[in-house]
Symmetry: C2
Subunit: 433 residues, 2 copies
């Protein structure tokens, strides 16, 4: 079966059976023009599943969604989400505010009070301005539609420091009917293992039973959002939710799961490519490891190694830092692992084998060209030494490609991350000084 | 017993029974004026102990030292070390070169061939220029002395991107005799758990039996060098070696161990304060944790959290990122830990308790003042956007002081790290572009 994927789709408004609306309600005191509230509403009760942050400090909306899904996962009517304020570390008032958001959304669309999921992202530790949120929900409800414009507005309204909306739509034909899986995501900072300050809404009109949806979502998240890392920081709010409207009876779960995985992988890579300060996307494929866990954790160790990340930022094929990052991780987590058959390639060029670097001036030039080719933009400071990305949309989808062959097992994994740049430091340190 | 510590001592040349010599032999092609070879020679065979990198990729000198200590730990005559080239990832030739360095050093001073330890630090993946190294050993041997000048030259010759030598001397009186423990260290980048690109030479004239020296060194390293982190990267060459000349019979091991710990802690903190791009030293004390391991790993998670490190760099008391870093780590390593009694203080000011931030404008101003007070220098870019530290020696020894009380155990630990700055990125990314 051929599945068609579209990256520049409006995303969630593409899915029959759902309407979306967005509003600006000034949550972060940046004015009403800044969209910060999204409402997704299903025509009928949906089967739903969610995957949430592993951070032990969970924001109130995360705890709320977990409770709702424990009792109402087959009658969810929608999602209400805001950016600008994460409603995290806000004690009992935060829990009350999450409940209030769900009730306001349900009331605005005439749904039962326990039928809404709640997502909040943004500043940690401040109470939600509930009067503004209530206005935003009212305006969003009045705009509910399946227009592409409203879809794009909704994908924008969940963003924080992201510079562009991220949406993917997959469509294929099943017994003569076109079915759809679509999603939107926000990422930017605190992006790492086991989710991040990341919100992902996935919708489908395919009738997926609740239990199957939960299992397939868990697998898809594991191979996509859990395989990316921008800065190893995990947020208190990470949430991926999937709703199935049940409109199209279906049984080819292999096709559904392939589509779901691809939508998640595309969104995950978009999250990295739009990560704070990312100037190079780095894709690490680890092969022939003793276990999947080791393969993935080595990939993470590479994309999280600060020195290697800096070298990539500088277009320096610093193979020593790559091998150091691998050895450090293996030494810390699987000491005694035989690394004598370790081989590594960058951009298809062999750089390490038989315990030694395999480099020469010709190869070094090819590696520098590979790094330059994957650079998203050239770093240029302002006169006062501030750095920011001069692009909104990426000029290409190339990545720094690393292949690591451990030669002592059969497991493999791919991990995607970014470099460590002046733009990252400016974004996270210079905003206040 | 009162122990006197001196931080601006020449270090290893202070210890009776040892002579030191240094030379520049152009290992990194930076000219003969750059000191890059150090020789430490004992008048008599020494008891010796070593602690080495946990990186699974070990440089040839590390493997060599481990072999030597396995068979000759009571008859070590000295240490030969170079900077500029780590002799790592150099396959069989690297092992042969480490052996050759030991033989050259032994021959130059008339010691047995198996009596020298070898340390190399610097660029990974290149063969040592052995003719230059041989010249350096010859020159160093001709300069062997106990002059303070030669001590300072030796502390300088083990440095790579460090900007200043690090040395500590502890002296105290035992049964009418002054005894000495002294050490020198190099650090700078790749500084993290379980050592780093870090070399530390510790010497004492106190007669410490080999087995006791090994045990006490392991404990001292654990509470000092293993409790610092600059960038979470662990090098392939980390080495701490301790030699006891045995000149002064001794039995107050409590006093010796206190002195050894303090020398190691002082050197460790100096390594952080001179770490690449460090503009704030961050000291995290974790109390009332369920285990020592959890206490220390939370401290590490805080000083390694990129977003929190950036906030400190920007003098932003971003408490959300602090709590996020703690929760992320606990969620990943000890899920289910009760964090309801978590309390946190910065600079003595309570910032988190009872599940919520405890902040007000007056406290925020005090926190900003605390961060500014701990800043080592003001960040200023060059016209082309490069950043480098304008200081060689630190103007003060203040740190950003964090106290984290988990309220569910009895273990405590202190960890020292640094912030994440433009200077770090410039040092590690801009050198080539």
């Amino acid at each position: 079966m051929s599945i068609e994927f579209t990256n520049d789709s409006p995303g969630v408004s593409d899915v029959p059976g759902f309407r979306v609306g967005a509003a600006g309600c000034d949550i972060r005191n940046k004015g009403l023009d800044r969209l910060d509230l999204t409402l997704v509403v299903a025509d009928q009760p949906c089967a739903a599943a969610g995957v949430f942050t592993t951070n032990d400090v969970k924001a109130a909306p995360v705890r709320f969604c977990q409770q709702v899904l424990a009792v109402s996962a087959d009658k969810i009517r929608g999602i209400v989400g805001n950016s600008g304020n994460a409603n995290a570390c806000t004690a009992a008032q935060g829990d009350a505010d999450a409940v209030a958001m769900a009730k306001l959304a349900a009331a605005a669309v005439g749904a039962p009070a326990d039928a809404f999921l709640v997502c909040s992202t943004g500043r940690i530790g401040e109470l939600l301005p509930m009067a503004k949120v209530a206005d935003g929900i009212k305006v969003s409800a009045s705009r509910l539609s399946r227009d592409a414009t409203e879809g794009v507005r909704s994908a924008n309204a969940i963003l924080t420091s992201d510079t562009r909306p991220k949406s993917v739509t997959a469509r294929f034909v099943w017994e003569g009917k076109t079915v759809t899986i679509a999603g939107i995501a926000k990422g930017a900072g605190m992006i790492e293992p086991n989710l991040a300050t990341m919100l992902v809404y996935l919708l489908t009109d395919i009738a997926v039973p609740r239990a199957e949806l939960r299992q397939m979502l868990a697998r898809a998240v594991d191979a996509s959002f859990n395989a990316i890392s921008i800065d190893s920081d995990t947020s208190t709010s990470d949430t991926v939710v999937a709703l199935s409207s049940g409109r199209v009876p279906f049984s080819d779960w292999g096709a559904f799961e392939r589509g779901l995985h691809q939508v998640c992988r595309d969104l995950a890579e978009d999250v990295v490519r739009n990560g704070e300060g990312v100037r190079h996307v780095i894709r690490v494929t680890v092969r022939n490891a003793a276990s999947l866990g080791l393969a993935r954790s080595i990939g993470k160790a590479v994309v999280n190694g600060p020195l290697f990340k800096c070298a990539v930022a500088g277009n320096d094929p610093n193979v020593g830092r790559l091998i150091q990052a691998i050895g450090k991780h293996v030494g810390a987590t699987a000491p005694g692992t035989d690394l004598s058959r370790l081989r590594a390639r960058m951009g298809g060029v062999e750089i390490f084998a038989q315990g030694a670097f395999q480099l020469d001036p010709g190869k070094e030039a090819a590696l520098v060209a590979h790094l330059r080719g994957a650079e998203l933009y050239t770093s240029r400071p302002t006169p006062d030494g501030m750095f920011s990305a001069p692009i909104d949309y990426p000029p290409h989808e190339r990545a720094v490609e690393l292949e690591i062959d451990l030669g002592n097992g059969a497991a493999s994994a791919a991990v995607v991350g970014g470099d460590l740049t002046h733009e990252y430091v400016s974004e996270n340190a210079d905003y206040r000084s």
